[in-house]
Symmetry: C2
Subunit: 331 residues, 2 copies
């Protein structure tokens, strides 16, 4: 796709804030072709020293909660204040064509046209792990390009919230003023991930319900052990439609960052996240290398069949395949 000098140039252009170079680099990072992977790693190595400068925010909200409207209002508020905002997404169910979250940039039409904002849909298809890796790498690229606020959005599908929470500094949960009904629908584990709960649509007829919901969520949060001793999760009301509450939310985020940075907790959290990511890459890479091994590929169908019929134990099959791969008969 690109030659070595091209990579050098691409890195320079990204560092200079060139949007086309950034978009091309993200496409490279998203490719699963082996040569593209190698190039992507080289590019990331050139840029990793420039990354890390942004505040990384995760945001989750089920459809109907007004997430696009919120992100648009939130993003515009930030760019107006001089920030550069990148919006990424983690949605393993998304397809580039069709109902992609964010695929349709018209959902955030103002932000999409804002020169200080950069919107990138979720990498299409693949496992949650694969989508997550590509989003993490994209995060490094947009940071190297000078975006100082990165927003990673996800829909509440399966494990995607946990995955996003593990790659950001602060995780925000966006809810509608549904009260009890709403509370029901949230998995407990997801509440536990939240550093900030935002009840959107707190305007007009729904304001009273939003206030009641806030009280409920504050109560629910009181029962949960805080993620960190340096921050207690907060509940805020917002109306993305009217642009209300956005300023307070950004102030909370700033306070969170200050408190966590001062305690050394933010740096530690990022270090742990990077380490966990390294192990994930290592594991995935090993399994990939194994599946590409000729001896393994030749023996695999037979072992799988024997395991599936109950003729061999999974452990024995795993031992045999691993030994084939590693080229000696270690047990």
């Amino acid at each position: 796709m690109v030659t070595a000098p091209d990579l050098e140039q691409m890195a320079d252009r990204i560092a200079a804030g060139n949007r086309r170079a950034l978009a091309r680099a993200i496409t490279l990072v998203e490719s699963s072709r082996a040569d593209h992977r190698t190039q992507a790693q080289e590019l990331l190595e050139k840029l990793v020293g420039r990354a890390g400068g942004a505040i990384r925010l995760g945001i989750s909200g089920t459809p109907g909660v007004g997430k696009s409207t919120f992100i648009e209002a939130f993003g515009q508020h930030l760019t107006a204040a001089g920030h550069r905002v990148a919006v990424l997404a983690v949605d393993p169910s998304s397809k580039r064509t069709g109902g992609s979250i964010l695929g349709d940039k018209t959902r955030m039409e103002h932000l999409a046209r804002d020169p200080n904002a950069f919107i990138r849909p979720s990498p299409s298809g693949g496992t949650l792990g694969g989508v997550a890796r590509r989003t993490r790498e994209t995060m490094l690229l947009v940071e190297a390009a000078g975006y100082d606020v990165v927003l990673v959005e996800t829909v509440g599908v399966g494990q995607s919230e946990t995955t996003v929470a593990e790659m950001v500094d602060l995780f925000m949960l966006l809810l509608s003023p549904g009260g009890g009904d709403e509370l029901q629908g949230i998995k407990r584990g997801v509440m536990e991930l939240a550093d900030l709960i935002v009840i959107n649509k707190a305007d007009g007829d729904l304001l009273a319900a939003a206030k009641r919901a806030a009280t409920e969520y504050r109560g629910a949060l009181g029962l949960i052990r805080p993620k960190t001793p340096h921050w207690r999760a907060r509940v805020r009301l917002a109306s993305a439609l009217k642009g209300e509450g956005i300023e307070e939310i950004w102030r909370d985020i700033t306070k969170y960052r200050e408190a966590m940075t001062e305690a050394g907790a933010l740096e530690k959290q990022r270090a742990e996240q990077a380490k966990a990511w390294m192990w994930q890459e290592l594991t995935d890479g090993l399994v990939y290398a194994l599946t590409r091994d000729r001896r393994v590929a030749a023996a695999l169908p037979d072992w799988e069949a024997r395991v599936m019929s109950g003729e061999a134990t999974p452990g024995a099959a795993a031992d045999a395949l691993r030994a084939l791969f590693l080229g000696h008969s270690e047990a």
Copy 2:
């Protein structure tokens, strides 16, 4: 621990239903010592042909729902009908000493003394994956020993329900008649795992509440896509204390087994479970072998430090460590 002829004898004794041999074999399977692992694999290979004959049931219920009382009543009902029942547990938080789930067999004192029942607490400590592997292997052993009903219990902690659901034929969710409050507390994903929901304590003052809860849960189940086209999840009332509803639950389980067997779906489900287990073993084994590699061990601290400080990308570190392990510089 045991020599090769010992393993042959141990396998024969287990097949003959010898409880002491079975208990010793489980201890072997639970050990993480490398030589024990090898022996455990050999033993399992000798016995795998005798395994698979039981119906495998998962049961989850939070503390306070009367799970022990239910399992005791359910187990005694089955042994009275001529079945041989094994009760295993998956609880990654359990320690052998202290508050172990089932560690205290007095929680099921009648069943614990029943010659046709075998109760084994959760393997102590370790990750959920490790606990799960040992429980899966123990399941093969008790099946080889002729137990025809295996009950795997778990408390609703994190991912443990999913893990148990992935090793059994039918997953049962035990609930108390809490109605709305109760419904709130259940993660949606867990409802989706259930083939059978049992509302326990449906007696006396709580009977009316239990009936209301049953209606709620039937409604909630109606919104969930069935796991299989061959079975619709059911909601049953039970009073473990009075022994009521147990017979109906067993009848449901039998019907489930018949419907799934007839459709070929049970065999397929087990085959898929075994295959997934094989891949898990293979992945875990590869990572374990990597961590034991001298070159990797020597280079690991430096790479981890560079990744944690943001100096190197996780991908580059993973590539380098993998290349060290595999002994050549593949990318």
